[in-house]
Symmetry: D2
Subunit: 353 residues, 4 copies
């Protein structure tokens, strides 16, 4: 792509948190410009009337999702509920528009699993088959060439980047992976649910989705691509009284091959795996990353522990669920798809404190 050209970006469903995050990043993007943003309910409303944080920085008005023509865009982000992107996909692809779906429509290769967990038939299996899974560090080449991206779920990003070096090296028991994860409340989206109101969610901690969460089959399917052994994952999400941030505590048991490695060798395995990655920070062995060190940024940090030098390896992973876990990752995909620097628009530093 010509360096002077601007990527014309459309956003469908811009009234949620991933929508406003996309705007925050794309407003400062040197090679992209949001030209249209749509909403079913807010057509005609200025964006900065809904998001005062955009006042003075964004003149856009919501177009009507039903009638907006996005085919003039180079790429469209779908920050919508599951099912919306796949309904549009054929038309958009035919018009030469690339698609980055932040929902689940294009995350699965086995569509039976998608249909079981998302309770809807898949409307374009061929496009699902060609779509690239948008976890850049593990799928960069496919993303560069893709017309359609299924942007990963937030929890799955942490679990895949945390377990990948271990599974690829074949040094842990793939059938006994445990992930105790915790998310800030924004992970539930901008929804007026009783469980999410301040008086309920504040000064509180609880598990949820223990018996089944949609990010479980997504993650298990992706982990299975990393090893010939059968993968079994136990995933327990928890809700934390914070706005942003995601923390995953990953447990895996070293097998004979793994037990032969020193802690230094285990650390080196991760350092090598993410060498040169702009957005993965392998911290020193024994570090304890905190979520706030990633607040507002596209960086994911991880650190290894081996308690009592036993046979269980603990990987701690943190990210901002709305950035590396959603909108930032999507922009990172866009950058690759259009041949601009992978870090463009993503270099804002974390907000600390």
């Amino acid at each position: 792509m010509n360096a002077d050209k601007q990527i014309k970006v459309g956003i469908v469903g811009g009234t949620g948190y991933t929508g406003v995050e996309l705007l925050r990043m794309l407003t400062l993007h040197p090679h992209a410009k949001v030209t249209m943003i749509t909403s079913r309910k807010e057509a005609g409303t200025r964006l900065d009337a809904m998001f005062p944080s955009l006042r003075g920085r964004c003149d856009l008005v919501f177009s009507d999702t039903a009638t907006a023509d996005l085919t003039h865009c180079d790429v469209v982000f779908y920050a919508t509920p599951h099912g919306v992107a796949m309904a549009d996909a054929s038309k958009m692809v035919a018009a030469g528009v690339k698609i980055i779906d932040l929902a689940a429509d294009f995350r699965f290769k086995d569509l039976a699993v998608f249909e079981q967990w998302y309770k809807m038939p898949h409307s374009c299996p061929e496009l699902a088959a060609e779509a690239a899974y948008g976890l850049v560090e593990l799928n960069r080449d496919a993303i560069k060439k893709a017309r359609i991206i299924g942007n990963p779920g937030c929890y799955p990003t942490t679990m895949q980047l945390g377990f990948h070096p271990l599974l690829k090296a074949g040094i842990v028991d793939a059938s006994n992976l445990i992930a105790a994860c915790a998310s800030g409340v924004s992970g539930a989206g901008k929804k007026a649910d009783m469980d999410l109101i301040f008086s309920e969610a504040s000064d509180n901690f609880k598990a949820y989705g223990v018996s089944g969460h949609r990010h479980h089959p997504e993650t298990e399917a992706r982990l299975q691509t990393m090893t010939a052994d059968r993968v079994r994952l136990l995933f327990t999400p928890h809700l934390v009284p914070m706005i942003r941030g995601m923390h995953s505590t990953l447990y895996s048991r070293l097998n004979a091959k793994g037990l032969a490695l020193s802690n230094e060798q285990l650390q080196a395995l991760f350092v090598d795996a993410y060498n040169g990655e702009a957005f993965v920070d392998v911290m020193p062995f024994g570090s304890m990353p905190d979520t706030r060190s990633t607040r507002g940024s596209n960086t994911l940090r991880l650190a290894l522990h081996r308690p009592q030098n036993g046979d269980t390896l603990v990987v701690l992973v943190v990210q901002d669920n709305l950035v590396k876990g959603a909108a930032g990752q999507a922009v990172q995909c866009m950058n690759l798809m259009f041949g601009v620097p992978e870090t463009a628009g993503l270099l804002t530093l974390p907000l600390s404190p």
Copy 2:
């Protein structure tokens, strides 16, 4: 009332925060017992299914508001939206049941003001006329004899107890009262509003209702009863990212009579005004009460300041908005109405931290 007799209590609309607060206090009350609690939507549901905090302590099941017969109760608390209590009141009073309304139906003597601010006609003006305003420290005798209580709003409680000694003594300019107040989010009730979800309300502070809040006419009317001078109050509520707690910063200008008083005399005025009150704590001059010192308790604390020894007196007032600002005050009224100790059921200490 016979010391051994238990007050039979009914609660209408027990699914909100004031409902569960009433249960928290009445479960431990030595002279009262909740015999029936109703809900429009949750009839048949066990209370502890909705409020796990009650598990093991409460066997009640919600009765249907539409069909429940509460006339066997000695007293019924209405923890309902505005308008519900007045629709029931005639029937209940006729059956000899006392009423404590935590909504606004019985707070106003001038029903035109009620109708203007609550956008509904008042259905029983005679009962409104006889109802007692339930601010115990300022209206104890009337409450003791009342059949109907209009329980005060949360903000009005702090403003009245803070301004009363000054207005009664005639030492401030009644036409220039300012109240900058702040409330925890529970003050908005258990409602799934977008503005109240954690991701919106947390790490944030804002004013609301600046141009008009229903507690303004209520307070102004009550303050007017304390002085022959014309009262003018400016009231600015703010929303604080905390669950419980209310803080009012009250400004009034000393008039010539007031300027003749020393700070010690001003302090003595308040100490004398609330001498013997179990639930009003006049702190030393210059103290800075924090809301958490009242968390979960029926105590209201206040302290005087006179910055730069100028002509403006500042009164800081704190309370738990759900207790002294709502359910605790209501129980205090009930105690008076039935001749049991005023503090019965209300002696739980604040939760600190």
Copy 3:
């Protein structure tokens, strides 16, 4: 003990959070009265000057720890750093005073483990040998007869009550227990540490003590008493931006004997184990307890899950870390030691919201 007699209580080290919690509970206790409370640094200070939540409810003044004579007390609670109680113990026991230590001095039978983790020699091994571990539900008989109680740590309480029915029944692999736990910030005590200030701890989540936490050896030792199999526990604490509350997510793998049980049988095992316990709430299978349902109360709640009906059983446990995890448990012990009702002073309901 005569029903009319009051237990005379002393508290050493009353300036921390467990100290003020003891006061909150004992002030309302029908059979006990705090007669003396000491502090090294605050001798002469009124308690309510330090804790405004006690204003109007407590006239006590801190005595000097160095000179105070507590031998007139029936029982002394040590809410002190590790090492203080054991220095006093011989003298107190000789004077017929019972001791409840909220620190670690009397939690260990293997004093080498104590000395390794707490970096101090144990000064009274004989008393450590006779001391009872104060986890009431698992050690009630010993506590009733004890002169000295080692009150359990907060995390260990959740882990022991969660794992005990499984280990006792011998249905899980004792060598592969994992506990991913989370605590509110008050668990760190009232300390002016940089990591604990609001700007650092709020809107944040992180693990800590991953490679070694003092509650690990305490718990592992106690779990070992429940089974002949070798116990191996992996324990990962996390810090949650909430004041109070503790949540433990416990993973254990069912062995052949366990896999033969239905979920109903597993549930029944827990229901039976805690049948009649006033402070343990076994919730329905598949429940997700939240910490706030225990806020301010002595109740611990737990619930079982078996994700994907696989071989891993998940037990979720919540409590208030300052109550059942500390001061409430200590009062429960005291009640047993003096023959008053076990629930005396402990029936305050949780604060919700």
Copy 4:
């Protein structure tokens, strides 16, 4: 300044929150580069070891404040306690280095006031006399030419920008200004104070400094420069359980000249006053700005209210206390001093949610 040249920046005292904020902004600044940062206590420590949020983005190591030579810098920011900048100033100015002091050393023209409130003699009165007060919107020309900047306090910034159009137009009673303000906890700095720990500051609200706060004389002195009438300001700061954010509710009484104006004219007064300002957002009349709409950005927002169309005008002002209230304002000054675009490095959008 040549567009290609980079401003060489030094920072003294970089371990606090304003230090890390300066780094966050200057790392992305197109025309500036931090070349040295000093600390008394952390000499030799990498910055990213103290602030993990900087990992991968900053290779700097703290130099020793005592020995570091900052005379090679073009400008030095002092993010230090009061008194440090003035001790260095003569030497730096002599070496041609510009100074931006984020503490109070150069905020006052009347040094007797400085000395009274900051309890130290002023060591360089001549430089204090020439220093420019760094509130850009009200003092742009002086800042452009200045060698030394006294960067305003956070509260004073909101009060000055909120009252300025009113005082300049002479339409309010200058002798009766009231400011009820609220700040997030980061305003107290990175200090391990007991009052600031999460368990104390969370779920709480209180006033502080009611009888005297250092920002009071600073603000009153600056307001006095805007009018010939005598200014009297009452200032009440409050502490809010949020990390960042500042909210000021400003009350002033319209005089005869003011009462002659319509609300539209009052609004126009503010719109005109800040027309063209990149960082002041005058919201529509009657808006209620929230602090989070400014989180992480250099924008200050304000809105007018006139409750009950009475004679009191209320101005609501919000900003991020660490950005427009401190480090962002300082960078804005630097940009002016060096002739680069005023918005350079300051265009990051607010983090929402």
